[in-house]
Symmetry: C2
Subunit: 298 residues, 2 copies
């Protein structure tokens, strides 16, 4: 399969590495410098502390993307999508898979005229070490679902993916994304503001009180059925990643922009449009925005 991957961050590098093992992958980066580095060094991946075999892909700056690969994987942060979406709309000719967190980008996808639009939810942990090296430190899965069109290509993706990098086809894109959104809405901002590892949210009895109330507000704003099922999933993720620092914790620690707008920003807007009170979502949204603002002021 000919695969184009847009984005040279941790997820873009991770997907390029694994899918590039057996397929013809073109990776499109923001800067020409990064593309040159990748073409020169190949892609490096570190797993359990050990550097794996290098994988060769073809890298180029995003301006050179033509949109004619069998599948294009869009692996940028949601807040970067606004700048790219008009180019994607104009050039995309084949199937396209969006990996953004949150739910706010869904309205952009309706504007695409290409026949197949897919969405995905990444459950891997990855850290970009440099422009051509990624560390794969949380072995998970990628869930995919159809937003529009036929699922055939997603099925094919599941079969061609190497072991250790599985794809799972989900029946309902909305449920898949909302499940991840609930997890991100509770774990990310709380751990980033309380400065704790994920597991503390359930093991510290005081933080667990906040955890439950934050979950309740998400359920209320999203009008979720199957409350118990979403809670069980949230708790399970927290247990499984108990010793990890969340991505938002790390973004705040490192003075980087977070994905708060895609996560709590979306829920805050939703609560306003539904005229529902969401004091904790409002609070943690502003805590994180305030942290980002501190950095800008510094």
């Amino acid at each position: 399969m000919k695969i184009g991957i847009i984005g040279g961050g941790s997820i873009g590098l991770l997907f390029s590495y694994y899918l590039g093992m057996e397929n013809d992958v073109s990776l499109f980066t923001r800067t020409r410098e990064q593309a040159d580095l990748i073409n020169e060094h190949g892609l490096h991946l570190i797993k359990r502390g050990i550097e794996q075999d290098t994988v060769q892909v073809t890298a180029a700056p995003f301006q050179e993307w033509k949109g004619n690969d069998d599948l294009t994987v869009v692996a940028v942060k949601q807040y970067q999508l606004d700048d790219l979406i008009s180019d994607i709309r104009d050039k995309a000719k084949r199937s396209i898979l969006f990996l953004q967190n949150g739910y706010g980008h869904i309205k952009l996808l309706s504007e695409l005229e290409t026949a197949e639009v897919y969405v995905g939810s990444v459950e891997h942990g990855a850290v970009r070490k440099n422009g051509f090296t990624v560390q794969h430190n949380g072995m998970g899965v990628t869930r995919t679902a159809v937003f529009k069109g036929e699922a055939a290509l997603l099925g094919e993706l599941s079969t061609i993916a190497p072991s250790g990098f599985p794809f799972i086809l989900e029946p309902d894109f909305k449920e898949m994304l909302i499940k991840k959104l609930v997890v991100n809405s509770v774990i990310n901002p709380l751990t980033a503001i309380l400065k704790v590892k994920n597991g503390e949210l359930i093991h510290n009895p005081f933080y667990y009180e906040i955890f439950k109330r934050m979950f309740d507000e998400c359920v209320y704003v999203l009008d979720l059925p199957n409350r118990a099922q979403y809670f069980q999933n949230l708790r399970a993720v927290c247990e499984k990643t108990a010793n990890n620092h969340s991505s938002m914790y790390k973004d705040i620690e490192n003075g980087r922009q977070t994905e708060i707008d895609a996560i709590l920003g979306y829920l805050l807007e939703l609560s306003r449009s539904k005229n529902k009170k969401a004091p904790l979502i409002h609070n943690y949204y502003h805590c994180i925005k305030g942290k980002e603002h501190e950095r800008e002021g510094a």
Copy 2:
């Protein structure tokens, strides 16, 4: 005037130093070790970086307190009062002034049989440097009010206090304590969790959103009239102490117990008894309790 002071923390040392300049002060400490240190070295005070003249007071462990000074000043934290109150009730013969933050201790004061019971609200900044040395780094005032009995002794206190350590007699003890409670409820927990100086709460536009909502919840739970007046006072304190770290910020940073139970714990209980929703008070109460719990677990 013969003055007894209970408590060898920053406020107890500060009051002993200033009142001991012209009066016969006995200071009662938790440990005999601290009393010995004070009797040996005298009281030291550092102001604007400069060590002031030493003041001699008589120090003794609290067990030796007889309750027969003209005025006893109780300068312990509210959470330490429970352990002392039955001794104070049994022994107090003369006027007594309580300096605790919050409002939860007021119910204990009704049980006292002594004729004059006063309450105070301390607006000085002070840090205990060692058992006999205090640093006075925020020059403020002490507001006092009558809880029960005659105001005469409080008037006398205003006249005998040295310059640089003024006392102001307030007409309404409840309004005085509640004003301070509102200030402490908003500034202390927010600065401690967001890890910022007081001024950031009004200068960072995102934190200011939280600041206003937290204030609104306090007004709602306390059924405050004169909303604008309390808000103006809160803002003024924040502006005046913009470059300071709040006491709760410092308590959390240094792994000490905070006064959260006297402050948000009181409001949380009040919200429950009035059947009022107070999601932010609930949240920040549990954030701070969780931080204290982290320390205990460590």
